[in-house]
Symmetry: C2
Subunit: 259 residues, 2 copies
């Protein structure tokens, strides 16, 4: 084992903490927005605010990429987009299959955000024979019978499951048996996979939960603020504004704000 290890080339990815990996897409999202507005450089503070991360953590994260910026100038936006994309593996083509072409599967098939990040929808697969051949997002839906052949023919390593909960584990097993090693699971169920296969589950309600927290706080502040204003009016002082927000320059609170 030790012998083996010494023979392994040190890949660039090695040594980047998992938490940093989870933040790279957030930086990339903020940088892409800057790039679309043709902003050439960005300070670590500006980028940290836009990504919802503190700037010391951002600088630490970027040091793993070997990216240190230039004092007084900041980071080159385009170069940083390239560096992060390369680190995440987005500069290569990732064929993905989407299994389960109901509303969600069709929405994912039409989702522009995949293609712009190097993810190419290689095939759409559904168990309903009536769906077979029907075009969705410009691709003919294929029947589940063809799943193994599709994976193999297209060299697919990433599968997206958008089936009902009851079908998800069986689909997952077939994807894994056919050679898929990463699963993005939209089905509301927990999947079992063998060692070496990564599963990430998307919970569309997580963002709503964070909004609810802030709504609850705002409601508390409004009543507190109303009470304070009434009291301030009595004491002759000025009113009280609702608390400052914690937003980026465009008012967009990032989806994830790791410590």
């Amino acid at each position: 084992m030790a012998t083996g290890r010494t023979h392994r080339p040190a890949t660039r990815s090695r040594g980047i903490p998992e938490a940093t990996v989870a933040r790279l897409p957030l930086y990339l999202r903020a940088l892409t927005a800057l790039s679309e507005r043709s902003v050439p450089t960005v300070s670590s503070e500006e980028l940290a605010t836009a990504a919802g991360v503190n700037s010391a953590k951002l600088r630490k994260d970027f040091s793993y990429l070997g990216s240190y910026g230039t004092r007084g100038v900041g980071y080159d936006v385009e170069y940083l987009v390239y560096q992060i994309s390369r680190e995440l593996g987005l500069t290569q083509d990732w064929p993905v299959v989407i299994v389960g072409i109901g509303n969600l599967g069709a929405a994912l098939a039409n989702y522009g955000g995949f293609a712009s990040r190097g993810f190419r929808v290689a095939a759409l697969i559904d168990a309903d024979p009536a769906m077979a051949g029907k075009p969705v997002a410009g691709l003919p839906v294929r029947h589940t019978d063809e799943l193994e052949a599709i994976i193999s023919d297209n060299g697919v390593s990433i599968g997206v499951i958008a089936t009902p909960a009851g079908a998800a584990q069986q689909v997952c097993d077939r994807l894994v048996a056919a050679g898929v090693t990463s699963i993005l699971n939209f089905a509301p169920t927990v999947l079992s996979v063998p060692e070496g296969v990564d599963v990430r589950k998307v919970d569309l309600s997580i963002e709503l939960q964070i909004l609810a927290f802030h709504e609850q706080r705002k409601a508390g502040e409004d009543s507190a603020s109303a009470a304070a204003t009434a009291s301030a009016a009595r004491s002759g002082a000025g009113g009280v504004r609702s608390s400052a927000s914690r937003k980026g320059p465009d008012g967009d609170v990032p989806a994830v704000m790791p410590a």
Copy 2:
């Protein structure tokens, strides 16, 4: 201002760091899975693994909730579900409207994960007159003309935007003018909102990006491993296994792994 501040009651929410708030839904997701399996108690280590957070951070987070667990027993699963739900504001009813009932809007309308977290879909709204009255997920689609009345009649403070990018800002402006103070944005565009309104943007490709990082690393390891195995075979040593995974007990890597 200072006068006002002293009159504000200290709400429970005050003092919880934003990063802790962002992790609460992850704990809640892991705890709900335990609850569904009727697991009565959980250690901080087990729960931290399931949520993808280190256990010291988890204990710190829970200390903000006033929840310390019992030495040798751990945390009471049901009580912790209740505490976190209460903290996030999920024990109250949150009526939400979904605007834009294409595939994505329809998928969101059918998404069971909202209702189970206290989010009630009060109305589905679409700009297409042909959609008006059509039932989706058991609700008749309402026309955009009715947007303001719907918000007001239902006391809606959270709006979900699932329109095409080009329509999103206008819909957002109308929602905000009608009194909505939290926006969950699925449209692939950056929204401008006034101070005091929270926007969270969902990027469905973020999870795929993290999977791509791991795929790239696995590919690097496979070739390194193959080289090492060949080399080990030459030197008479054993083969090299692919690296250990970083998974929770069910193989589910959580969507977000803050530091």
